[in-house]
Symmetry: C2
Subunit: 527 residues, 2 copies
């Protein structure tokens, strides 16, 4: 479908059926264990979300760390189009900090929340219902003094006493909240139950019809998309969701599933979104690569097998017509053949243009670095594809401010002798430190030699290598999660040699740990 077609098709969609996509990949998604995005990576994802056409980007939770604050402020300053939202508890400092972070956006939103379920009020907040009501009044009023666009969420809404929650929502509305989001924080509700809750809330709070009502569902019982959809059918017009369904525990409702469900069943359901579906596949790949969260092959919409003819298996005879088994066209989500784009003789200008087509605006020093990396890989690999370029650029994004770098290594491995590795690291002073080690295998020997060279004792929590594309000369992409001096950090590396990719990933994880880009241990990061 061309852009013109899409606009025309929108002409007979009712405005009242427009569903706003509130993307929380950078907030709830980024709270997943093992994800540690730096400000540049978050900005890159935000750019892609804007291209995807989401309506609201929840860019982070500014009070939680200076890094989170800077990332939200950077996104607010650079990203045009979507509303940029910062999360805040109901405290004065939280809301002030959220406002400082988003104020430079053209369309800033403050999203404040407090729990309304008794179990959360008593056991987590250790306070009373009266106190909660007072906090909501003050917080929404304060947020409203900064911006017109204020969202309020009664955390653990689906397990709250509905009459008390209705009172709290009324207070938020009286103070000027423009969006009310009722989360299923613990992923406990069922579609009929969630829809019924919204019907009851509308009866108890007639003013709800004047604002946007929103769903926010978690997938603990596998129902996040179905519950969100039930909310839409009950009149909700904002869906909080994350790319690839990442987020706390089993994650949030998956953005791509919600969007493609509404897209595919629009004639039956009526509800529609403004998302440019052709950017879905690329967004999914970017988020998977930068977060280190793989997408399983049988994941709906964006899994490797979601479209039968993408599986690489010849299906002769039976598939006499695509629609016998496929209800969506792979092109709709931007899945195309992985065609050759560049070769070893391609120049800097060609690289820049190709990257721009892929949505990466790379210039100056970043372009020089990407070009150097591209040339190294083009020397070894016959064809450099769009998927390879995405991996190279994502890899380079990881390198912004490193205090440790891998210079070189030599390894001998054999099934008949113990392995030996010799590794050289450039430290923060620019000195080359060389160390040697044995190990259980070549990767272990390299990691131990890096430990020696850096003087760290690291505990490897997770390790994964996969090929970016198919073919013997495919790029290998390594991801590691380490515990270094009690801090957990991740690192990622790309190379045609899996040992080199592993070594780079390991060194970066140590660098990330040193720079405090570690995993948060503050879990109060719902709704």
């Amino acid at each position: 479908m061309t852009k013109v077609d899409r606009k025309e098709a929108n002409n007979h969609k009712k405005t009242s059926d427009r569903v706003f996509i509130f993307d929380t990949t950078l907030r709830d998604g980024e709270q997943s264990p093992g994800i540690s995005l730096n400000a540049q990576e978050k900005l890159e994802i935000a750019h892609q979300l804007a291209r995807l056409g989401v309506d609201i980007i929840e860019a982070g939770f500014p009070i939680t760390s200076p890094g989170d604050f800077e990332a939200v402020r950077g996104i607010a300053r650079e990203i045009d189009g979507p509303v940029i939202c910062g999360l805040a508890r109901t405290s004065f400092k939280d809301i002030e900090r959220a406002w400082e972070a988003v104020r430079d956006s053209e369309r800033p939103r403050i999203h404040t929340f407090i729990a309304t379920s008794d179990i959360h009020i008593e056991r987590k907040l250790q306070t009373t219902r009266e106190d909660v009501m007072g906090q909501v009044k003050a917080a929404v009023a304060q947020a409203k003094s900064f911006t017109d666009d204020v969202e309020f969420s009664p955390e653990d809404g689906s397990r709250s006493d509905i009459e008390f929650m209705a009172e709290v929502i009324q207070i938020a509305l009286d103070e000027g909240a423009t969006t009310i989001n009722v989360p299923d924080t613990v992923g406990y509700t069922m579609p009929d139950e969630y829809a019924e809750m919204f019907s009851q809330l509308h009866e108890l709070v007639p003013d709800l019809k004047k604002v946007v009502v929103s769903v926010h569902c978690h997938d603990d019982l596998g129902l996040a998309v179905a519950n969100s959809f039930a909310g839409i059918q009950a009149g909700c017009r904002q869906v909080e969701c994350a790319v690839n369904g990442i987020g706390e525990r089993a994650g949030n409702a998956s953005l791509e599933e919600i969007v493609m469900l509404l897209h595919t069943r629009q004639s039956s359901v009526g509800a529609w979104t403004g998302v440019n579906t052709e950017e879905i596949a690329r967004t999914s790949r970017m988020v998977s690569r930068l977060t280190g969260y793989s997408v399983q092959p049988n994941k709906a919409i964006v899994g490797r097998n979601a479209f039968a003819h993408e599986a690489g298996i010849h299906q002769d005879g039976v598939l006499k017509e695509r629609t016998t088994y496929e209800i969506m066209d792979a092109k709709t989500i931007g899945l195309e053949t992985n065609t050759l784009v560049l070769g070893k003789h391609s120049g800097r200008h060609a690289l820049k243009n190709t990257l721009a087509e892929l949505g990466f605006e790379v210039d100056g020093a970043a372009l020089n670095k990407a070009f150097k990396h591209f040339k190294e890989i083009a020397d070894k690999k016959k064809q450099v594809t769009a998927l390879d370029l995405e991996a190279i650029v994502s890899d380079d994004l990881r390198q912004t401010s490193e205090n440790l770098n891998l210079a070189w290594f030599d390894v001998e491995a054999s099934t008949r002798r113990d392995p030996k590795a010799k590794v050289a690291i450039i430290d923060s002073n620019g000195n080359e430190v060389v160390s040697e080690s044995g190990g259980d295998g070549p990767v272990d020997a390299i990691f131990k030699a890096i430990d020696k060279a850096t003087g760290k004792h690291c505990d490897l929590k997770e390790y994964n290598v996969s090929a970016v594309t198919s073919g013997q000369d495919a790029l290998g992409e390594a991801k590691v999660m380490l515990e270094v001096d009690g801090k957990v950090a991740t690192g990622q590396g790309v190379a045609t040699d899996v040992l080199e990719a592993s070594a780079r990933a390991y060194v970066r994880a140590i660098a990330n740990a040193e720079q405090g880009r570690t995993l948060k241990d503050d879990s109060e990061v719902v709704p």
Copy 2:
């Protein structure tokens, strides 16, 4: 919950609310691209499904290949407890073959299907509605002549003209079908729509109340579990599902999500299953390992992050009570700490007992092989855990009838020089063939040397390595998918050295391709 507790708890569950779990991991699941299980692996999974307490095991589609036939027959002969079911189209030969495969089971079922949607009748079957009705009558009658337990599915039911489908179902019932399964073959339906279809079918076919009505949902729009659940709420009492939600395209409804949804919300919903939930985690790991299909970290129930406290991140302060954020207990699905079970001084007897506790009955030559493998690993790895043992045994299951084996290899790799690999392969005549090669990296060099030694030209489609447990000395598990002479096959290998694991996986994929354990290109393997 102990077994006694579970039985007591079941006492106040209504028999009419009992939902039968029909597991199709070995049939629809095994049809996923890239899965090629041998008969022994299928038997091992079937044993685990019986321990899990599923009611029906759909063991395969016997007509499709001699391998599939043998696997189903082996399961029918060995597995006690669940009904063993074989799939068959409506043709005479299909049903005869399915019966030969399942007849030795104590409780054999034949499951026959034909499409009832016009798009499938016209474009895939290229026949008429009349012909379909005739085929159903003959097929169910034939199946019924073999066994009382006959299931019929109108394929693509959710897109069928409901009045025609009702006529077809009536024919199947008249011929004695005891289970009627109405699949959402293409994953297109929505919960309300699917439930409404069942209500209409009950009106059109009053006899349906005398048999078990079943759901079979695909996850193309992310609704497989929600649609199955809507079917249960509309009175269906059999759910067709697969472990980890594997299956055609985006897969089937995930067994563990359905089971835990009913378990967690039993007091609201009433419906319940006979599944022993404590076997869920182990079943998921076994299926993931043997199929090569990874489970994403944010997958509901069985993903690494599904239970917050399993994520390895210390959550201090906030989680004052588990139930604030967790609606299920990790113990309920059998997730326990990965405790030390064996060390390098453990003997054969200890290994056998520990494996038996893990559910693996290993004896004779298989025990000798597992013990040898265990000793090799225990020499390199301080602790051999339950997860390691699962990986070792699964790895050995892959080796049953191999015509090619890796003898040894030597590799030199460096960031400063091109890599060199020397590999020795034992061929089917027992000869050692040695070859050398360079490459883009050490893995590529090893793979190229294996190509030379075996005289094959292989195209690497997918490559993945991950650590079985955490820790520097963790076992690495490699999975490859190759195209060899136009056939696609997978291989898997486990070793402390990722290069060795990769080399083993590659050699096995070639061996699998030679033995015809390749991926099916017959896609007529729905519903």
